[in-house]
């Protein structure tokens, strides 16, 4: 008990003496582990290279400027591909994620014991694999190109969208649904009148947010041959064409800024 009586007065402390020692010991342990890990990493680092890094970076930066602006002619098509991969992938993901989310939400699932675990498994397996790894597998399955990228982005996004959406479904105000049930509405009508209006803002927000993330993710998919601007990045790095690399990085930066701007405005308009 944090309240003790000392000489007829009640003394309150945040923690008991034991809890206080426990907390202190916890911090001690944390700091000790941190110092130990620091030493391990330090031992395995070749400090000569690290010391050299500023010089190397300056050297690389020097070779990167000025960006080779004329290379832009080649980049327009891959940039367009990148945006398309993100957009189409997000659309595929949403179409699949919506039913999965309704199956996963405790209050709408047709069966808590059979359908819900399957839906949750779909969500977890989609989320646990990075889109770059999905792309790597899909390139070997269906060959290199934009299609592999679209599917990779789609597969990765299903879990993200479905998870956030099913959490939104579980957090709805049940009394509004009860009111619709009480009118004698069928299950499909309960869904479209009682639940869908309540999750629309979440749905719109999630979709736009995921599209925004996918623009960024699709810029690297080309590294494994799944189309988009990453393909050019990979080629430029391996031929040591640093002025092209710097231009590509600038283009990626610009694309991401534009997508941030667009998604912020869409979200603002909907909610």
């Amino acid at each position: 008990m944090p309240v003790r009586e000392i000489a007829d007065k009640k003394v309150w402390q945040r923690r008991t003496t034991r809890a206080q020692f426990g907390t202190w010991f916890g911090w001690l342990l944390g700091v000790a582990i941190f110092v130990y890990c620091w030493r391990l990493i330090s031992d395995k680092t070749i400090w000569f290279f690290v010391a050299d890094a500023p010089k190397q970076a300056a050297d690389m930066a020097q070779r990167m400027v000025p960006p080779k602006w004329s290379y832009m002619e080649v980049l327009w098509a891959p940039v367009w591909d990148t945006v398309n991969i993100a957009t189409l992938g997000t659309m595929i993901a949403i179409v699949i994620a919506v039913p999965v989310a309704f199956c996963a939400a405790r209050n709408t699932t047709p069966s808590v014991h059979f359908v819900r675990p399957v839906a949750l498994f779909i969500i977890v397996s989609s989320r646990s694999i990075n889109s770059l790894i999905w792309a790597l597998m899909l390139v070997t399955l269906i060959g290199p190109g934009v299609l592999a990228g679209v599917i990779a982005i789609g597969l990765r996004s299903i879990g993200f969208c479905a998870k956030l959406l099913y959490e939104a479904i579980e957090e709805i105000d049940q009394s509004q649904v009860e009111a619709v049930i009480a009118t004698g509405a069928a299950r499909s009508q309960q869904l479209s009148f009682g639940i869908v209006p309540q999750i629309m803002p979440a749905f719109a927000g999630i979709s736009v947010f995921r599209w925004d993330i996918n623009i960024r993710e699709s810029t690297v998919l080309g590294l494994v041959g799944a189309g988009g601007i990453g393909l050019q990045l990979d080629a430029s790095i391996s031929t040591l064409a640093w002025t092209q690399v710097s231009l590509i990085l600038l283009v990626i930066l610009a694309t991401v800024i534009v997508s941030e701007w667009v998604s912020a405005h869409i979200r603002h308009a909907i909610i």
Binding site: S175, Q176, A179, A182, T183, A185, S192, P197
Partner: protein, 276 residues
């Protein structure tokens, strides 16, 4: 109209919410169900339209036994019972009109309701009801833009457009100010009168119950302990329902207000004015 026989409800948590409840509500009667929180008032009316599944007992709406209906028949039966909720329970992001029309969901098919293609007769009726409660100019507003009293009026319209035989009203005034509470109660009672509806009104405000209902049923720990006219509510009865307390003031006040109300009726100000 409504007949409840030996109704029992025991929740999974073990709470024995209703104990052998027997109750008959004839056509056109407005009945107030009073009792302390946790007495089982909500459970009782939710058992009637089976938002809560009764443990045992029988419930008749007319000749139809409700407690054991399959899902399709239950939906059809629910269209005959309008429900009005404590926190209005409007679908906040839908318009007033959509909320009112949602009372017709039991009558129209899924695709018609999905594309909001309700029959013109339903739309006419929705406008009539909105006009009756003084909200015809609000039809296009979103439900979350309305004040509490206005929302509850929309809730009333949604229940009435079902063309029900019975109204189940769950604490209609619990989140409203005293004046709006009376307006809402008066409106519900008038509409029940006009349409010869039976109604069960859950209400924890004894004063309001006495003012508006012709029959009071007191529920205490899941059992009916009083059933009679509002005049017979004396300190002993109230003590039995709610526990020991000084009840004289409550009863005195009602008598004064009854007189006020009579004067009000003479002046014919019963028509509800929209809240400011």
């Amino acid at each position: 109209m409504l007949r409840i026989e030996n109704l029992e409800k025991q929740y999974k948590t073990g709470d024995h919410a209703l104990k052998n409840v027997n109750l008959v509500v004839p056509k056109g009667q407005v009945m107030a169900l009073i009792g302390p929180s946790g007495a089982g008032k909500s459970t009782l009316i939710r058992c009637v339209n089976r938002l809560v599944e009764p443990t045992s007992g029988r419930i008749f709406l007319g000749d139809l036994e409700l407690a054991h209906l399959g899902s399709t028949e239950l939906r059809r039966a629910r269209t005959r019972m309008g429900m009005i909720f404590q926190e209005y329970a409007l679908v906040e992001r839908l318009s007033v009109m959509e909320n009112v029309l949602s009372g017709r969901l039991g009558y129209v098919g899924f695709w018609r309701s999905f594309f909001r293609k309700f029959p013109q007769s339903d739309i006419d009726e929705a406008f009539n009801l909105l006009e009756r409660v003084g909200l015809e100019h609000m039809a296009d507003k979103r439900a979350d833009e309305l004040s509490g009293g206005q929302r509850q009026r929309v809730g009333i319209c949604r229940a009435l457009i079902q063309n029900p035989d019975l109204l189940l009203v769950d604490e209609p005034t619990a989140s409203l100010d005293p004046k709006t509470s009376r307006q809402i109660m008066r409106l519900i009672c008038e509409l029940c009168d006009e349409r010869q509806l039976a109604a069960i009104i859950n209400i924890h405000d004894v004063l309001l119950a006495q003012m508006f209902a012709r029959r009071i049923v007191g529920l205490q720990l899941g059992s009916i302990v009083y059933d009679g006219p509002p005049e017979n509510l004396n300190p002993e009865v109230l003590t039995q329902i709610y526990g020991e307390e000084d009840w004289e003031a409550t009863i005195e006040k009602v008598k004064e207000e009854d007189e006020e109300l009579d004067t009000a009726a003479l002046l014919n100000i019963a028509k509800v004015s929209p809240p400011s």
